[in-house]
């Protein structure tokens, strides 16, 4: 899905030509690799570079929203062997922005990674690409060959004394590898089970060496930030929420797709850009930041602006910017059942509260959905989440718990109806029509 609409395009400037605009010559024609050249020619110091990124208040676009410049500054200067890693293991349900970045503008990610490597003193980097998007993995490999042939990668880049090489690592189907230390384990050729933190990757990362790991969109923003200056980038958004952001809008809208808007854009505006509600139906709920973010009912969501602080204040998370839109044809119990199955399926099994808890959550929501719920089940679900949250090595347990707690909190009467009447509040025929799969009137 190519970009359909945008305000202040930065990351998506190269997307307008669709699949015809991704290669090196196109990227260079729109100012690509100019920032890398400028940094190398002026022998910019690492400190100045990191300071500029800090000024932009770019916050990690993978979900956690940690300030990128600060993360880079944690890298020990003296270490002889360091790595830069890009997290393109985009598997958070609802998120599909990094796939389009790989597809339409892979060189912006490459340039961003080279600049990051310069800033932290890394000689080698990897981009870990989600297993299910083989075409994008191939495209990225092709883009790497182009960059290498042009002298942007390898020894003594553009005649400087800076050397850096970059390779693509293809995942093969494991949501947990989107967790940064699980991802590092995976690059090392192991099961992708997250590591205890601390130590954080900046001290003990890939192969036990200091490593900077950022999301694809974060790296892609770097050349633009350096081009316009950190302050100008910050001013595109709102204080503490710098720049623009890609939002992946899915579900019950007329035009699902990626939209780049300044941080702080009203949700109502984003919904309008996505063509409004499918079939003119009524908005019921939105998951604003990927499936792990708490769901918000329509009235609360319509008051939000799309930035970290506004969404957090409303009780959810901006996360990866995956906006899952649900209309009145959705049974919230069935929706939660599917999400709970996902976390049960994808728990890596390392920590007992997550391995067992995610199974309990799925089985109990499943029985409510299938007319076998018990009056005490809602309390039981909340109790299980209490025993999961904050009690595991990584955040997957919390990610499994947030949907359960928020669905029950905001749509309790629908769960109670299910338990009492052993059926959906929303008529099954209405639900069936909601997906748009069957043409009206067809069997």
């Amino acid at each position: 899905m190519a970009l359909i609409d945008t305000i202040n395009p930065l990351l998506t400037t190269g997307w307008s030509k669709g699949d015809a605009g991704w290669s090196l010559k196109d990227y260079e024609a729109r100012g690509g690799y100019v920032q890398l050249k400028r940094i190398l020619a002026s022998k910019m110091t690492q400190d100045d570079l990191i300071a500029e990124v800090k000024k932009s208040v770019l916050r990690g676009r993978g979900g956690a929203g940690f300030p990128t410049g600060l993360k880079w500054s944690f890298m020990p200067k003296a270490a002889p062997e360091k790595y830069v890693v890009c997290n393109t293991d985009e598997g958070e349900p609802g998120t599909f922005k990094d796939r389009d970045l790989m597809r339409f503008d892979p060189h912006s990610v490459i340039e961003g990674m080279i600049i990051a490597a310069y800033a932290v003193g890394a000689k080698l980097g990897y981009n870990y690409i989600h297993g299910e998007i083989f075409d994008m993995y191939q495209r990225f490999e092709e883009a790497l060959d182009q960059a290498r042939a042009a002298g942007y990668l390898g020894n003594n880049i553009l005649g400087s004394d800076f050397s850096f090489d970059l390779f693509a690592h293809h995942g093969w189907g494991a949501y947990i590898c989107g967790e940064e230390t699980g991802l590092l384990e995976s690059i090392e050729g192991k099961k992708g089970q997250p590591r205890y933190k601390p130590p954080f990757p900046a001290n003990f990362g890939l192969y036990g060496k200091p490593t900077t790991i950022n999301n694809t969109e974060t790296f892609a923003a770097i050349p633009f930030i350096l081009g316009m200056g950190g302050e100008a980038y910050l001013n595109l958004g709102k204080p503490n929420n710098g720049g623009t952001k890609l939002f992946s809008v899915s579900g019950h809208v007329n035009r699902p797709g990626n939209y780049e808007v300044p941080m702080g854009t009203p949700f109502a505006k984003l919904l309008e850009m996505a063509g409004g509600m499918r079939g003119g139906r009524k908005l019921k709920a939105v998951i604003p930041g990927g499936s792990s973010a708490p769901v918000l009912p329509a009235d609360i969501m319509m008051e939000c602006t799309m930035d970290y602080d506004s969404i957090a204040k409303a009780g959810s998370m901006l996360g990866s910017g995956a906006v899952i839109v649900m209309d009145e044809t959705v049974c919230m119990v069935k929706a939660l059942e599917r999400l709970s199955y996902f976390y049960f399926e994808e728990s890596c099994g390392q920590c007992t509260p997550c391995r067992e808890g995610s199974g309990w959550l799925y089985r109990v929501v499943h029985r409510i959905e299938h007319g076998e719920g018990r009056p005490e089940d809602l309390d039981l679900l909340n109790r299980v989440t209490d025993n999961m949250m904050g009690k595991t090595i990584c955040a997957l347990a919390d990610a499994a718990a947030f949907p359960v707690r928020s669905f029950i909190k905001h749509f309790k009467s629908e769960f109670e109806y299910h338990i009492e009447n052993k059926k959906c509040l929303v008529d099954p025929e209405v639900q069936r029509a909601g997906s748009g799969f069957f043409k009206a009137g067809a069997a």
Binding site: P93, D98, G173, A174, G189, K191, S250, G251, E345
Partner: protein
């Protein structure tokens, strides 16, 4: 006993070597995920012998390679049909027909998830998020080919194409 060196073709070895070259010389194990994919592409699925051959080539214990093969969803540790169809039914896809698309395929092929048609042509799998929710319903053919906007007409076309 199978000679492990005969398990992988010279073409597969060449591809694996290209992957090994991406990593530091003392980190050959990093190539195990790619090597298992290459072996699976060649053999159709990963038997214990194939996994052991990959492990042997990379200087790893067979169990270490098996741990990887059994951890990631897209490795097939059992034989599959000529075409493995994986349908995403996760919530964002389901809102736009992912579950209905899976139901449609099940009915067309007369099989359920994790089953193979009697003629060995199709295996059907339920998939988790493929990171393409804007293109829902989404399906993967043999792990590598993504098919977008799979409404009934497109599904009919795809099934007819998979001879």
């Amino acid at each position: 006993m199978t000679n492990q060196n005969d398990m992988l073709s010279p073409e597969a070895i060449k591809k694996i070597d290209r992957e090994v070259a991406k990593y530091p010389a003392d980190q050959k194990q990093s190539a195990v995920m790619a090597a298992l994919v290459i072996a699976q592409d060649e053999k159709g699925w990963l038997s214990k012998e194939t996994i052991a051959a990959v492990a042997g080539y990379l200087g790893m214990a067979p169990i270490a390679a098996y741990e990887v093969a059994s951890f990631y969803n897209m490795y097939d540790l059992q034989p599959v049909g000529k075409y493995k169809l994986t349908v995403c039914t996760n919530l964002p896809c389901a809102l736009s027909g992912g579950v209905h698309a899976a139901d449609y395929v099940k009915e067309k092929l007369g099989i359920d998830f994790n089953e193979t048609t009697a003629d060995g042509r199709f295996t059907l799998k339920e998939g988790e998020c493929m990171g393409a929710c804007g293109d829902a319903p989404v399906m993967l053919v043999n792990n590598k080919r993504m098919c977008s906007f799979m409404l009934p007409e497109q599904i009919d076309k795809l099934l007819a194409e998979c001879k």
